[in-house]
Subunit: 241 residues, 2 copies
DNA sequence: ATTATCTATAGATCTATAGATAATGC
DNA sequence: ATTATCTATAGATCTATAGATAATGC
């Protein structure tokens, strides 16, 4: 067998550029995506400051210095991951608030919680938890994303305000309510941290819990669930992802 | 004025041991407590891995190496802080489950949430958030405290199970319920992270929210609040802190 | 003598840059 | 020529230890 052909026969085709020290890449992903993926996993497992550029590189099978060809260091990677984890939620908020029939505000809140829970449940490696980490929040790159998070909180506040019952409003003010609703949706992060899957049923239970917190009676919660399903279908038909 | 008296006249009396390089200590706290206090604040602000022993030492006005006289490094400090933040909650859980009249289970859950929220609200520097940090959870010292946290979750699960209504039980299983209840109580951490105070009214709103999540009707929530007040008084008389 | 600090420093990282090199593609 | 890696390394930390020193207390 001619040795000169060995590399060409490798099952993982090498693109342009010098080959990796490991021989060749292990996945078909572009290097950039591969780095993001491993970084996300490591940040979620050990924290941002608790992960070194060397660890990220090793997970990818490249040398530490090679990261800097693709990213401006750890902060650059973090910025990209934050973007990745906040954009989907925010896009959907806009759609919901624009499209929801005003005659059933409960359905809008239910749908927001449902979609948001689903986003947190499916975002890779549970990176929704990045925002909770103090080292991330005190980093410079975080500032850029803070407004987006506040917009999300504000949306929960607005929808919560339209839904809240009198007896609940007597005890809970609107700022508290928004915080509580987000907090409840973020139980998804807690569940995933324990290594469990978050099912569609879980997401429904969470959305229902949000309405319950606002004091919506059970029969209207059930109705909202049905309406939200319709809305979801309509969005799907309109080509919203 | 005799120079030899200058040190004796200093308003901060020095104990035994070599004086600090800053001249003398800035607080009356024992050095050990001073270190814990600054470490807690820094861990909460910048994360555990995001805080160096040097930063802690500087905050105390001592040299980095001097920390090691009092603690076995950063992990030693962390262990002490974890202990400090979990013990009060756990002690109170035991009291509540032992003393609560079984005829009003809602009051027991209300009380647990109320006391737990209060603990999280008053523990120094919001260190309740230590448990959520991935770098802390993946550290060796954390293992020792995991059982205590699980015991707390289990208590919420048991109390939640006795309280939950049929229509809620149809959607939410008991594991989910325990997670939701803790998650709601931990909204205290979120509020404090935003720099806001958590009032007694906030704690009541949170406790009420827990019952609402379980599907307890409003009038029984109000009744539970009153019963919980009575129980609190009784505990106080019995000398429980 | 005991206590609580200090100074000095070794050794292990960790980040980021400079410049070389081995592929592909034109 | 361009691309994507590599090697080598500087410089900045960061942790932890050894041993000195300046108080108090007996």
């Amino acid at each position: 067998m001619p040795t000169v052909l060995t590399r060409q026969l490798s099952n993982v085709p090498t693109g342009p550029g010098r080959p990796r020290h490991t021989g060749s890449r292990s996945t078909q992903q572009p290097a950039r995506e591969e780095i993001l993926d491993h970084a996300a996993r490591l940040f979620a497992e050990r924290g941002f400051s608790g992960t070194s550029t060397r660890e990220i590189a090793e997970a990818c099978g490249i040398r530490q210095a090679s990261l800097y060809y693709h990213f401006a260091g750890k902060p650059g990677i973090l910025a990209e991951l934050l973007e990745l984890s906040v954009r989907p939620s925010l896009e959907k908020v806009e759609t919901i608030e624009r499209e929801c029939p005003t005659e059933v505000p409960e359905a809008a809140l239910y749908l927001l919680a449902l979609i948001d829970a689903h986003t947190l449940a499916t975002v890779p490696h549970n990176i929704g938890k990045l925002y909770r980490m103090p080292d991330v929040r005190s980093s410079e790159v975080f500032e850029e994303f803070e407004p987006a998070l506040q917009a999300l909180t504000a949306a929960y506040g607005r929808l919560g305000a339209t839904v809240v019952s009198g007896s609940v409003a007597a005890i809970v003010n609107l700022d508290q309510l928004a915080g509580l609703l987000i907090q409840v949706v973020e139980v998804v992060i807690r569940i995933r941290s324990r290594g469990e899957e978050v099912t569609r049923a879980d997401a429904r239970a969470i959305a229902a819990t949000c309405l319950r917190i606002c004091g919506v009676p059970e029969e209207r919660i059930a109705r909202s669930a049905v309406t939200a399903d319709d809305l979801l279908l309509r969005f799907a038909e309109e080509g919203q992802t």
